[in-house]
């Protein structure tokens, strides 16, 4: 297991290097000059040239890449073009917010999908199943910007229960922090919940036709016990994969959700950086996201082994 873990981690290094090239290359393909955008209305050609020089943008692209890669190897992600703050510091400031939001959203999605998936499978083809299927399909198809605005309209404007936006760090005021993150987490969690419900339903149905389940029934084990003791544990294996994939997707979903609810997280940082062509920030954020996705898929692999004794890595 340990050997597998180490081998698995080492094998990601070349992939990460490819990611750095892609990140850097993609950013170069973005149209628009960061210096020009930063200077905006006041830009004079002389000022643009001066800024390009001071940002090192007048250097050849390969030189810029290797300089950046060297800094990254020393864990220095550079400084924001916009206000000269360190990219590492910005990410350290924003990432916990988004991670908290993602975890919160995951909890909400599990809270919805576990009972819904099991119930759907237990009452296959009943009206409950059909209703849950309908809700799940709506959850998958509803765009998050629409759901977000809907929630703001209902809970912030109509009912005035929850502020429409804002953010307080958890340590400063835990209650308010959770209240403010509730609507964004629901917005982010609903599509995931819908996907997981569908996965869990079909996985449960498949498991329930297996021999060992039939044997358990034959031995006289009650329906509920079979469901939870024998069925659920096995049914969870494919769901864990889906869960892992969704977690990666959550980082992407956070981009839109954070924009709607003005949550100062990772996604908002990225959107803002793209609009201002803040190249060091874009590169840093994408790189850290890539590392995060690798890490998640690694953890999912480990979780597999923990849940299913049949799966062992050598």
């Amino acid at each position: 297991m340990l050997q597998f873990a180490i081998r698995r981690l080492l094998s990601t290094l070349p992939t990460l290097l490819v990611v750095t090239v892609l990140v850097f290359g993609m950013v170069q393909l973005l149209p628009g000059d960061p210096a020009r955008l930063l200077l905006g209305e006041e830009a004079t050609p002389a000022a643009v040239a001066e800024l390009r020089r001071s940002l090192g943008l007048d250097r050849p692209v390969p030189e810029q890449y290797f300089r950046w890669l060297g800094d990254v190897a020393r864990l220095d992600l550079g400084a924001s073009v916009k206000d000269n703050t360190s990219v590492g510091g910005l990410i350290a400031d924003k990432l916990p917010t988004t991670l908290q939001l993602a975890v919160f959203a995951m909890l909400i999605s599990l809270l919805i999908s576990l009972p819904a998936g099991i119930l759907s499978a237990m009452r296959q083809n009943s009206w409950v199943d059909r209703l849950l299927t309908l809700l799940a399909l709506s959850g998958i198809s509803l765009p998050s910007f629409f759901l977000g605005i809907l929630l703001i309209y209902l809970f912030s404007i109509r009912l005035a229960w929850i502020p429409a936006s804002g953010y307080v760090p958890f340590l400063e005021d835990p209650g308010r922090n959770l209240l403010l993150l509730l609507l964004p987490a629901v917005t982010l969690g609903v599509p995931t919940a819908a996907v997981l419900t569908r996965y869990l339903r079909s996985s449960m149905l498949e498991v329930m036709t297996q021999d060992y389940v039939r044997t358990a029934h034959a031995k006289g084990v009650t329906g509920g016990r079979v469901m939870f003791k024998h069925g659920l544990r096995n049914a969870l294996i494919p769901v864990i994969t889906a869960f892992g994939l969704q977690l990666g997707g959550l980082l992407g979903g956070a981009v839109i959700t954070e924009q709607i609810f003005s949550v100062p997280g990772f996604g908002r940082l990225l959107v803002d950086a793209v609009f201002t062509r803040d190249l060091p920030v874009i590169q840093g954020v994408v790189l850290v996201s890539a590392v995060a996705v690798f890490l998640v898929s690694f953890l999912v692999d480990l979780a597999y082994a923990a849940v299913d004794p049949r799966i062992r890595y050598h």
Partner: protein
């Protein structure tokens, strides 16, 4: 254990103090990028900078230049020398005295700091001299009429020399001025927090805390005002005006601005190197329809760069009515097809489609291409476009709305337009000191530009501020900067 009566009294006092401490939260359309008067280049920065920094001179509601940190000034030597007398006893938020040396430091910093966006605005300055602690003298290389007006914006903001020297390039993350509010903290994409400067020379502000929060999306901005998360938003989308006005809990400030919007034609390549083609397109535009359909009449039809109410606005300006026959005549049966470049967004899309329909009435075929703002600017600079939709936020002095746009190789001359006569007139107007004389010169230049048509002006946007009822003391200064010094919330 019972709390001692004195402790109890202290708690009560603190609680009362906390209850009356008033915070006003303002929703902006972008996160202010750079809070340094020298480096700032975005309109939204000015909303925040204006509360933190005092300027040498300021603007009033009628665009008159009024005393700021300079109590009075004298212009001598044929418009070459400006002598400013400063207010005594003013201190920066960090305790440094604001004297002539600090003014000299700030102006010099604006002219020399690497990456300063003020260099162009102050390029006419030859020298800044300290005469005595209360007097500072600026000598110009040549007479420059717009000089005082440029000092009503970031070029005239006075920074604390002690703080600026200590912070270097990081001054933007901890700006120190002498204005009615002082900087407390900022969290990117979340908030900029200021607190009242209790010792402000012109009296302490009535509110205690001023928090700016960015909401790039107009609907989200409005939702936050409606839900009470913020008390003021600027700007409001025109479509939301009537909704706010009909709601008894809210109020709208809707007042003229200084900017203009319209269409650039690239005169350096086909099809718009042909003047008749530009005239044909311009003749199809129905400005009243644009104002009504897209902007719910929150804009004024335009036929020049100067907004109504500004000093050189010509009251006899005739807004051209659409004339499809003239347009067809100009084309003389030739087909005209081109690409109209614009940015994505509800309003811009609607506007572009309306233009497209207007052009089509005269048989002109426009293809709309939407690119994101950075790309639009880049392609405008490189003159890689046929026609594009781009305007200007406006400046109090007319020079700031015309010179760089139409002078040969001007930094905002997106059309690639060049006309010797216009160059000469624009330079002449700059050197004139009397506004009447400048006005006459601009009108001659404008006749030429409007006949050459590198740009067609369509409308002047209004400033639109939404706020809760009970908010008072916000003066509608046309530059669109909301000043919170006298603001109060009942």
């Amino acid at each position: 254990m019972r709390p001692a009566p004195r402790t109890l009294a202290l708690f009560t006092l603190l609680a009362l103090g906390a209850a009356s401490a008033q915070t006003v939260t303002v929703g902006l359309d972008a996160d202010p990028p750079r809070l340094d008067p020298a480096l700032s280049s975005a309109f939204v920065d000015r909303q925040v900078l204006n509360q933190i920094f005092d300027k040498l001179v300021d603007l009033d509601q009628n665009l008159k230049i009024v005393p700021g940190i300079a109590r009075s000034w004298k212009v001598t030597n044929g418009g070459l020398t400006y002598t400013f007398t400063l207010r005594p006893g003013v201190r920066f938020h960090d305790g440094t005295p604001l004297d002539a040396a600090a003014v000299k430091y700030s102006l010099d910093r604006n002219m020399t700091l690497e990456g300063s966006a003020r260099k162009n605005e102050l390029s006419s300055v030859k020298e800044v001299k300290v005469i005595n602690p209360q007097t500072v003298q600026v000598t110009l290389k040549q007479p420059y009429g717009p000089f005082l007006a440029t000092l009503t914006d970031r070029a005239g903001m006075i920074v604390s020399p002690t703080a600026a020297q200590k912070a270097g390039a990081d001054f933007q993350n901890g700006p120190v001025g002498s204005g009615p509010f002082q900087f407390v903290s900022r969290r990117r994409q979340d908030n900029v927090t200021l607190q009242a400067n209790k010792g402000y020379w012109d009296g302490a502000p009535k509110i205690d805390r001023l928090v700016y929060r960015p909401f790039p999306d107009g609907d989200v901005r409005l939702a936050n005002l409606l839900s009470g998360a913020v008390q003021v938003i600027t700007p409001i989308d025109p479509k939301d005006i009537s909704r706010l006005e009909q709601n008894p809990k809210f109020e709208v400030l809707n007042y003229p601005g200084l900017g203009f919007q319209g269409i650039w034609f690239n005169v350096t390549r086909a099809p718009f190197n042909n003047k008749a083609n530009r005239q044909a397109v311009a003749a199809t535009i129905d400005r009243d329809a644009v104002a009504k359909v897209v902007f719910y009449n929150t804009v004024k039809p335009a036929a020049g760069p100067f907004a109504p109410g500004t000093p050189v606005y010509n009251k006899n300006t005739r807004i051209p009515a659409p004339d499809l026959n003239a347009a067809r005549q100009r084309l003389g049966g030739r087909p005209l097809t081109f690409t109209l470049l614009t940015t994505p967004g509800t309003v811009t899309t609607q506007l572009a489609q309306l233009y497209q329909a207007m052009f089509a009435q005269a048989g002109i075929n426009a293809r709309i291409q939407q690119v994101e703002f950075g790309t639009l600017l880049d392609r405008a600079d490189k003159q890689d476009y046929d026609a594009l939709i781009l305007g200007w936020s406006g400046r109090p002095d007319p020079d700031g709305n015309i010179y760089d746009f139409f002078v040969t190789d001007g930094s905002n001359n997106q059309a690639g337009y060049s006309n010797k006569t216009v160059d000469g007139l624009l330079a002449k107007a700059r050197a004139q000191n009397s506004m009447n004389a400048r006005s006459a010169t601009y009108n001659v230049a404008l006749n030429q530009v409007n006949s050459d048509l590198p740009y067609v002006w369509v409308y002047h946007p209004n400033n639109l501020v939404g706020m809760v009822k009970g908010m008072s003391g916000l003066k509608p200064v046309p530059d669109g900067i909301v000043r919170f010094k006298d603001a109060d919330l009942k």
